[in-house]
């Protein structure tokens, strides 16, 4: 067996091009635009939404997973700043500040998604906000 062939370059380039195509398609790699918010999901359900236009840096946790700490920075970004998971992929993902970006902590089943505030009219957002309203109603009942 040979170590490498000239034709390998074509296949490797093809994989890289597919990666670039997905990057362009998914977004989250371009410039930050408009007002953004971060949606925090636990077990695939939206549990918290934070606006990313704060002037003061602050950290918070969600009651479902108190071991995971998030920090919102004054530059309009959010990051996982602490987690008890073994791989620390969530923390290493770093600051998120563009729509489409996701940081996930698979062992804790938590992920943060950056969305633009302008995309309120999209179908999934309506469903999510309906779910949120329902959750708020439930919370009010508990009070």
């Amino acid at each position: 067996m040979k170590f490498a062939r000239k034709s390998d370059i074509i296949i490797i380039l093809a994989i890289v091009l597919v990666g670039i195509a997905i990057m362009l398609g998914v977004g989250g790699f371009g410039q930050a635009d408009g007002s953004l918010k971060a949606e925090i999901y636990y077990d695939s359900e939206l549990v918290k939404t934070v606006e990313l236009n704060t002037t003061e840096e602050y950290s918070f946790t969600i009651p479902q997973v108190p071991e995971v700490e998030f920090t919102v920075y004054s530059d309009g970004s959010i990051a996982f700043t602490h987690s008890d998971c073994p791989d620390q992929v969530c923390v290493n993902t770093g600051k998120l500040n563009k729509p489409g970006q996701i940081a996930a902590c698979v062992p804790n089943r938590v992920y943060v998604k950056i969305v633009s505030n302008d995309s309120e009219s999209d179908m999934p957002d309506i469903i999510i906000s309906a779910k949120k309203t329902w959750r708020d109603a439930e919370r009010l009942e508990n009070i």
């Binding site: 997905i22 791989d87 992929v89 996930a104």
Partner: protein, 183 residues
């Protein structure tokens, strides 16, 4: 006609598998000291799996992948174990298929890159299933990381081949079987 037919050779093979599994674990441990952005890893233990694929049998490479998954399961928990197992098994399957289909008429580099990319794709899929959302943002990074890691591990395997040859460990059992069969 496979090599390692006699009892003595079977014992030798069991010992060899034990040693290379220990080597795979040692390499993953060593790797945890290399700082990496986004939790991207080189997959140094893939060198050992590739060695098993090239010079032992496909079954041995699959056994190594399963053992590694179980080890991660014990060390880091169920989720990390599941991710490691899915990555390892898809990686071995893809590499074994490529070697078989091309009848070893393929480069180390391409097998290595395909294995690393398959490993990352399996982890992307497993993580997306667990979180019940496609983690598209991670996919391009995982593809690029797979290509990079595949290139690095194939170079490292290439560098270790002469040493393995001196130790008499790089006798290609598959090639020799094919040769005897074709006679």
């Amino acid at each position: 006609m496979t090599a390692f037919q006699t009892r003595k050779e079977k014992i030798r093979k069991t010992a060899l598998l034990g040693m290379i599994f220990a080597l795979a674990i040692a390499l993953s441990f060593l790797e945890s000291f290399i700082p990496s952005p986004n939790g991207i890893k080189l997959g140094l233990s893939n060198i050992v799996v590739m060695y098993a694929l090239f010079f032992l049998e496909n079954r041995d490479a699959a056994v190594l992948a399963v053992l590694k998954g179980l080890f991660v399961f014990l060390l880091k928990g169920a989720v990390a174990g599941a991710l490691s197992l899915s990555g390892g098994l898809l990686s071995v399957t893809v590499m074994a298929i490529l070697i078989t289909v091309t009848r070893s008429n393929i480069s180390y580099l391409l097998v290595s890159v395909a294995g690393a990319v398959a490993h990352n794709l399996a982890q992307f899929t497993a993580a997306s299933i667990i979180l019940r959302t496609p983690l598209w943002y991670y996919l391009p990074l995982l593809l690029f990381a797979g290509v990079g890691a595949g290139i690095v591990t194939s170079i490292l395997l290439r560098l270790t081949l002469p040493v393995l040859g001196k130790l008499g460990l790089s006798q290609n059992t598959k090639d020799s079987c094919e040769r005897t069969e074709s006679k």
